[in-house]
């Protein structure tokens, strides 16, 4: 598509003129930048599935859930009332919230590591962390199990 569009219409004409005025150094630089930007896709965090959802409320972390768990709804109580968080199929969202502006429910689904939904009025924070993240590991470690 790119080379085809190149010699069509007024934009194509300008592009060819600009390209002819570039030195070989400029062209190599452009090529390198393109390679780096394409290559960086490999370093993006993996999408969905292998993440962990951390739900925080006023008092701190209240739940740790696997992102790929079957669909479930978790109620979190905050100063305004009960917020409901839905997890399932590799993603998570704020299903309902007692807050006035509904910024959190309008945020929709999140599914990538590092993403978060924050409800400031009801003090609920939903975050996705990687399975290998330090925070995940330290919050999963147990010193003992009562049984």
């Amino acid at each position: 598509m790119f080379p085809l569009a190149f010699d069509q219409g007024w934009f194509g004409g300008i592009a060819i003129k600009v390209f002819r005025r570039l030195t070989w150094g400029d062209r190599i630089l452009i090529l390198l930048l393109m390679l780096i930007s394409l290559g960086s896709f490999f370093f993006l965090p993996a999408r969905g599935k292998n993440g962990r959802v951390i739900i925080q409320a006023e008092q701190g972390i209240i739940g740790l859930y696997s992102l790929d768990s079957p669909r479930r709804v978790i109620s979190v109580s905050g100063p305004l009332g009960s917020s409901r968080v839905e997890i399932g199929g590799g993603r998570v969202r704020m299903l309902s919230s007692p807050c006035p502006n509904q910024v959190c429910t309008k945020a929709g689904w999140i599914e990538q590591q590092g993403q978060m939904i924050c409800c400031v009025p009801n003090q609920v924070l939903i975050r996705i962390v990687g399975d290998e993240s330090k925070e995940n590991e330290s919050s999963l470690h147990l010193d003992g199990v009562t049984r």
Binding site: Q59, I62, L64, S69, S139, D143, G144, V145, T146, R147
Partner: protein, 284 residues
């Protein structure tokens, strides 16, 4: 290391005195003398019996060490279990009743009033041993530690970096999973569950936490976890027998204990003081 060795010795000594499987144990001798007289006991053992009476009174008899005569009929210890004949249970039930326990503080003796009655300290000895082990470690100058006797846990001090201990609570129906966890120190956490010692006959689960009033396994809960200053497995067992409603009411009435009750349907009830401390896990 010597301190840890001493703590283990303390626990072993309690086991030796309390076990009904050891014929020379104080428990065995008290049972043999039931209805005939009292047996001189050690200071620790005397304290353990006194504590068990305290818990019997607190739980209005839901925890009762004299359930021993009935427990014996089930043979939980052989791994197979036996479903006793209802007439055998009816016959042994009148031997149950903590009021018959005779304590003589001055002579430090323990006796049972009814011939054939038996005490079973399985519901209190583990927690008692954990408390004694922690005392022993502290006396040896240990500043922080965790004592875990098969899931009855007590913690003191902090981990390196002034961190709290993190303890998981076993999911009552998923053996390799925890239902929740919490951060804790200078407290104990114990659980009584119907999944620890049980057998299944005709699709019915017969577990080791017997209701002293009926002689049959208590049916209200799957598990009860108690968080308190000292290890109180007697309390978790007693509340298990009381069931979710009465049990939670008792937890809320006692200021020094908090708890999590999983009822027979798997529904979780958390006491007010524990609600903000639990972190739920996947299996919840």
């Amino acid at each position: 290391m010597a301190a840890i060795g001493r703590a283990f010795e303390v626990m072993q000594e309690i086991e030796n005195q309390a076990s009904k499987r050891i014929p020379s144990s104080l428990t065995s001798r008290i049972n043999q003398a039931a209805g005939r007289g009292s047996i001189p006991v050690s200071a620790d053992f005397f304290e353990m019996i006194k504590k068990s009476l305290e818990y019997s009174r607190l739980t209005e008899g839901a925890f009762d060490i004299t359930i021993g005569a009935v427990t014996e009929l089930y043979h939980f210890e052989d791994g197979q279990g036996t479903l006793p004949d209802p007439s055998a249970i009816r016959q042994k039930l009148p031997l149950v009743g903590y009021q018959q326990i005779q304590l003589d503080e001055e002579r430090r003796t323990v006796g049972l009033g009814r011939p054939g009655a038996m005490i079973d300290l399985g519901g209190i000895a583990k927690g008692f041993a954990v408390n004694k082990a922690v005392e022993s470690l502290k006396e040896s100058g240990i500043k922080a530690g965790i004592v875990n006797a098969g899931g009855d846990i007590r913690l003191f001090g902090y981990k390196p970096g002034h961190k709290l201990w993190r303890i998981g609570i076993q999911h009552p129906r998923k053996p390799d999973q925890v239902i929740a966890s919490l951060e804790i120190t200078d407290q104990s956490i114990v659980t009584s569950g119907d999944y620890e010692r049980f057998f299944i006959r005709g699709g019915v689960r017969y577990h080791h936490i017997l209701d002293p009033k009926t002689g049959y396994p208590a049916r209200g809960c799957q598990s009860v976890t108690i968080v308190s200053e000292t290890a109180t497995d007697a309390m978790s067992a007693g509340i298990f027998v009381l069931g979710p409603e009465k049990g939670m009411a008792l937890i809320e009435r006692l200021p020094q204990i908090e708890g999590l009750i999983i009822d027979r349907e798997g529904k979780a009830f958390v006491s007010s003081g524990l609600r903000s401390r639990l972190v739920w896990r996947d299996s919840h």
